[in-house]
Symmetry: C2
Subunit: 221 residues, 2 copies
DNA sequence: GCAATAGTGTCTATTAGACAATATGGG
DNA sequence: CCCATATTGTCTAATAGACACTATTGC
């Protein structure tokens, strides 16, 4: 058995966030294997040292089983550990969060044998397996902390987006309404560095067309 | 051998910070065991699932071998991992940082067979073993990021301290000079919550005595 | 014109930085 | 009194929030 005496059992789990319309959502999957079979959990899986370059690669590999899209953004949150969090014995789970552009939400699907669901990260609506409720809370807290200070949720948006879409994305993450004018004022400072106008391209719609923007190459949070 | 196929080799490392006078310092130890014997490194050691409740407990146990003082503050930074970072094979190191009050700096000593040193975390002055240069940089970055927004370095100070000492500690961490007036103005908002005046107690000295303060019970960063 | 959304301008209360002024000890 | 440090006050420029205003489309 795995987590007996000398070595702990190591897994990676991923909180994959996206936007469903204007609402922030996180992916949960129904477990098809023991332990905790049939319960909902964050996607995750055992580290395979023979396959994985490092923990981040392990998380990407696990995620690739669910998502047909090369996840652009993956960030480590922290490690959870202990004797009791997994019935298989002393274990470590290294948690990551990842961001999926809203127009790629369909790239996520379960296998025939497993169910997936996008849920409100503040109220998953079900008790998650293992310590995944805590994990989710921690991932969400870090995502929010990050956006406060140095980040923009550009990775949740399509390749072309309007400033209003960007504002909605920020509001979805923080859960608070933002003032349009103040928001745009702040954006002016970052414009050119992390994203730029796409000259002459505008969103179609029933009302005044909105200027399109795009991420710049080499953009980082 | 350890990190072969199925299970990685797991260690914890600790960046232990303190103040030497007004300067921020971090503990490095000379390794007495293979691999990398004789090189300087952050203190660390192998996880022992039979002894350790979780990773934080493991870090505390490792640290207790060097420090005769119950470390009040220990925080996880992140995990480092991969096939090549440790010659023993596929490994994970979970990094923590800890804060030692400046008046307890003498509680740290090596065994007869090992040397210790307090070094400037910005310029350790020697190349550290494994990936500990990167680890140290990351720990320092997180310490600085934390102090920016929600933290005060109260854990680096003795039980009683003056506001000037607190300011010096903040400056030591950020590396930047702070304005006295603005600093105290900000402190007024936190006073009572995280620390309080000790009425009638003043620092002795050649000049005007300074009011002593102390941490409040149950204070958290 | 009207509704709806995009985008800009303005006013004000708050804040942060710079720096001056005052207070209090030891010699 | 002088010096060094503690502590407080003041001035000002920058900022953030609230909200009003203008612009542009489809109908």
């Amino acid at each position: 058995m795995a987590g007996d005496k000398l070595f702990p059992f190591v897994t990676t789990d991923v909180a994959l966030f996206t936007l469903d319309g204007d609402a922030l959502r996180v992916l949960v999957v129904k477990r098809t294997n023991e332990p905790e079979r049939g319960r909902w959990a964050l996607p995750g899986g055992a580290l395979k040292p023979s396959l994985d370059e490092d923990l981040a690669a392990s998380a990407r590999r696990v995620l690739a089983e669910k998502v047909r899209f090369d996840i652009p953004y993956l960030e480590q949150v922290c490690a959870f550990s202990g004797r009791d969090r997994d019935s298989r014995g002393w274990s470590i789970s290294v948690l990551f969060y990842a961001l999926l552009p809203k127009d790629r939400i369909d790239a996520v699907a379960g296998h025939k044998t497993e169910a997936i669901e996008w849920v409100d990260p503040d109220r998953p609506g079900r008790e998650l397996a293992f310590d995944h409720d805590r994990q989710l809370a921690e991932a969400l807290a870090q995502l929010r902390a990050k956006i406060e200070h140095d980040a923009l949720p550009l990775h949740l948006l399509p390749d072309r987006f309007t400033l209003t879409e960007l504002q909605r994305a920020c509001e979805a993450i923080t859960g608070e309404a933002l003032d349009k004018s103040a928001f745009r004022r702040r954006l002016k400072l970052r414009e050119g560095k992390e994203f730029v106008e796409v000259p002459g391209e505008f969103a179609e719609g029933a009302h005044r067309p909105a200027q399109y923007y795009r991420r710049t190459r080499g953009f980082r949070f």
